[in-house]
């Protein structure tokens, strides 16, 4: 695995104790997950024991050790969303894509995550797809959105 990008991220880090977490955040954003080799490199470069780096990767929800799909669908399960029916279209999404929260579809297209409140409670129920917030969601709307994304993918295949 090419570690150039990782080295670039690690460059200049190490002064502040928090830098190790920031490095992991940057790596997660770059690769859409935390590759094992990258974590070994982080441990080496920043002098943080390997087991500690491994602990960080497993503790925080922002990090995944498995690659995420091309499209990230995050369903908010905060109290306001729950009270306005969020569990229902979590069901819809899971049923449609046939995976569980945290998993990715076989074709690598979609990953479903749940989050415990994104702070847009007035717009409940909220779903975030690829960083874009969708408000007042219903199972029907979500189904149509996912179908639309699927269609877009088919018509314009993404670069590897």
């Amino acid at each position: 695995m090419q570690l150039d990008k990782v080295n670039a991220i690690l460059d200049g880090k190490g002064e502040e104790p928090f830098d190790v977490i920031e490095a992991l955040q940057d790596i997660q954003e770059t690769y859409r997950y935390l590759p094992e080799e990258a974590l070994y490199r982080v441990s080496e470069a920043l002098g943080v024991p390997l087991i500690e780096v491994f602990r960080l990767a497993n503790f925080y929800k922002a990090f995944t050790l498995e690659p995420r799909g091309r499209h990230l669908v995050t369903v908010c399960l905060g109290t306001a969303c729950h009270v306005r029916g969020a569990p229902r279209f979590l069901d819809e999404v899971l049923g449609q894509l046939k995976i569980q929260p945290g998993q990715t579809t076989e074709d690598g297209a979609f990953t479903i995550e749940t989050v415990n409140c994104v702070g847009a409670c007035a717009l409940a129920p909220v779903v975030i797809i690829d960083g874009k917030y969708y408000d007042h969601m219903t199972p029907g709307k979500l189904r149509r959105l996912i179908q639309a994304i699927r269609k877009q993918d088919e018509e314009a295949p993404t670069n590897a």
Binding site: E16, I21, E52, C117, G119
Partner: protein, 615 residues
């Protein structure tokens, strides 16, 4: 670079910027916090820019983007001045008409005004909204007039004057006195007297003193801090700088939760700009005082809102709390004296310095002074960020400000204080909201989350929801929290799936007590609150689940059955197509397979003939 070398330079800069602001003939303010953007405000912004340019008005219109105004249900909001009109739920398609009619011809577009469903009246100005009538918007009001990405607007509206006053005419001890006399208490939920905390930190021995802003707002349903940090990050920064001066700190941190990318961006930009203007960094405003701030982004863990866990995270470790036998003001970040305060607490500081502590202490109740911001959400008509004087009753907030129930249902309860709080029934709605009254009743004010529930909510399900949340977010270190919460959830699951027994109620209470006294940190200690408060006020619902195997609200899936009324059924098949679990089949007639059915209710929504029944 207009760096303010000293307080005098700042004052003249303020004057300049103010005049520059007032020189604009026309001003358009668009609310665009996270909620606004989710409602499409960025598209509205682009459309407006295009039309303004096309109309040749670019040099005459000050188009300003602000953070959240608090009237979240009706975003995106647009305010036009000097016409002094508020437009709601603006879409990009409206932009052309707004420019040609309202900006050029000064005509009001009736259909874009707010039409109050309660009184039937049309409201023209933001200040006349019934939503704002009973509010006291000391903090949130600022959001309306400030572009968070432009420090000039903050300065023009008087920003950093408090800091100038402190550096010119007050000693650190005098600042401590002012904050103490104001009787400001922490807004993050704990309510610890802020002045006392600052004093204790200052007095504690150490090589460095640190100042932290806790922006890890994790309570689901609460987003007050997001509104403040996105909309007015400089108010928070100014508070921190003043606090650092009083405490003797040279380094501060703002720890923002991972799920608030816009707040991180706005705060980082604010820090950059404050440094450019000489208001942060070395020799602030020319005084012998240097202070720097770093903004860090959390990794995604509710437990990091707990102060010792936050500091552990800041140290590059997992967010595991430690016992607070020794407080963080003595040994906190890197084992040094650390003062941690919530976003709203910091935001209150500049005004207290400018207006004096008695101004602040004149508002509120006996032991809870000032105002508090609440995130009013759930089954009310007007959801949003509400700021009221401490002591305002629940009833006033939910009915007068919130507009009463959404959908015409009856309101049943209000959940306050997030997962550490509890549910209060309508009979308790005349309680004043402050640090003490709600706690006596079995809930707590907490950081400000207020979720209104109507008859469609099952209180046993609500308790189960919070336990599930806490189980997910527990760091897992100590037995009462890791195992105890799981066992409480196990019992509640038995209740909601028809296996509950009365003995389990006694066990639940014994277990709840154990978790509350045995847990290491506040997450575990307060975990039983939702269960205990719902048991206290809604015991009948528990008994219905246990004795009758019935869920009165029709929420608990195992106790609910969906069937198709074959007489009303038109055989259209919409239900079978909509069902995400392939539970509907068609032999002679459409039938729901109870084993496969997950009670999500999507079929009922899809049925055009209203033929699906929930029992």
């Amino acid at each position: 670079m207009p760096r303010a070398e000293n307080p005098k330079a700042l004052a003249s800069l303020q004057q300049q910027l103010k005049e520059k602001m007032q020189a604009w003939p026309l001003r358009v303010t668009l609310s665009s916090g996270t909620c606004g953007q989710a409602s499409g405000s960025l598209d509205v912004l682009n459309a407006l820019k295009t039309h303004i340019n096309d109309a040749g008005l670019r040099d005459k219109v000050h188009l300003r983007v602000t953070g959240c105004h608090g009237f979240c249900q009706h975003e995106p909001l647009l305010i036009l001045e000097p016409l002094n009109v508020l437009y709601c739920r603006v879409t990009p398609a409206d932009a052309g008409e707004i420019v040609s009619e309202s900006l050029v011809k000064r005509n009001v577009i009736e259909r874009l005004l707010f039409h109050d469903p309660v009184s039937g009246k049309t409201v023209r100005q933001e200040a006349d909204l019934p939503f704002f009538a009973k509010q006291d918007r000391d903090l949130m009001g600022q959001n309306r007039v400030i572009d968070p990405l432009d420090i000039g607007e903050y300065i023009a509206s008087g920003g950093y004057s408090a800091l100038a006053k402190v550096l010119t005419s007050m000693s650190p001890d005098e600042v401590l006195d002012e904050i103490t006399s104001s009787r400001l208490r922490g807004r993050g939920g704990g309510g610890y007297p802020t002045g006392r905390k600052w004093e204790q930190c200052r007095a504690a021995p150490g090589t460095e003193h640190y100042v932290i802003c806790n922006a890890d707002e994790g309570d689901p349903g609460a987003y007050m801090d997001r509104g403040l940090l996105e909309g007015n990050p400089h108010a928070v920064l100014e508070g921190m700088i003043i606090g650092a001066y009083a405490i003797g700190s040279r380094q501060g941190y703002v720890y923002v939760r991972n799920e608030y990318p816009l707040a991180v961006h706005h705060t980082r930009r604010a820090v950059e700009q404050a440094k450019e203007y000489g208001l942060l960094g070395e020799a602030i405003l020319g005084a012998d005082f240097s202070f720097d701030v770093s903004v860090v982004r959390g990794g995604g863990a509710f437990v990091c809102g707990e102060s010792t866990a936050l500091m552990a995270s800041l140290e590059g470790k997992v967010g595991e709390p430690r016992a607070k036998d020794v407080h963080t003001v003595e040994k906190g970040y890197l084992d040094q004296p650390t003062n941690l305060n919530n976003v709203e607490t910091w935001a209150n500081v500049p005004k207290i310095i400018l207006n004096g502590p008695s101004w602040f202490a004149a508002k509120g109740t006996e032991n809870s002074k000032g105002t508090k911001i609440f995130a009013l959400t759930g089954q009310v008509k007007n959801t949003g960020l509400v700021e009221v004087e401490m002591g305002t009753t629940l009833r006033e907030i939910i009915f007068d400000i919130g507009g009463g129930p959404r959908n015409g249902n009856t309101i049943k309860a209000v959940q306050t204080g997030g997962p550490s709080g509890g549910c209060l029934p309508v009979s308790q709605f005349d309680l004043p909201v402050d640090f003490d009254a709600l706690t006596e009743a079995g809930s707590m004010m907490g950081s400000g989350g207020m979720v209104v529930m109507d008859e469609s909510a099952c209180m046993v399900d609500v308790a189960k929801y919070f336990l599930n949340f806490l189980q997910d977010e527990s760091c897992g270190k100590c037995v009462p929290c890791r195992v105890g919460i799981n066992r409480m959830l196990e019992i509640l699951t038995d209740f909601t799936e028809g296996r509950g027994t009365t003995e389990q109620l006694d066990l639940l209470e014994d277990l709840a007590w154990t978790v509350s006294v045995g847990s290491l940190c506040a997450l575990g200690k307060t975990a039983p609150n939702p269960v205990l408060s719902t048991l206290r006020y809604f015991r009948n619902e528990y008994e219905s689940h246990i004795n009758d195997k019935r869920c009165p609200a029709g929420v608990c899936r195992a106790l609910v059955h969906y069937t198709i009324d074959t007489e009303a059924c038109t055989q259209c098949g919409a239900c079978a197509e909509a069902c995400p679990h392939d539970a509907i089949s068609n032999e002679d007639e459409y039938v729901i397979n109870d084993e496969l059915c997950r009670k999500c209710g999507i079929c009922q929504e899809a049925c055009p003939a209203d033929a699906i029944r929930k029992a």
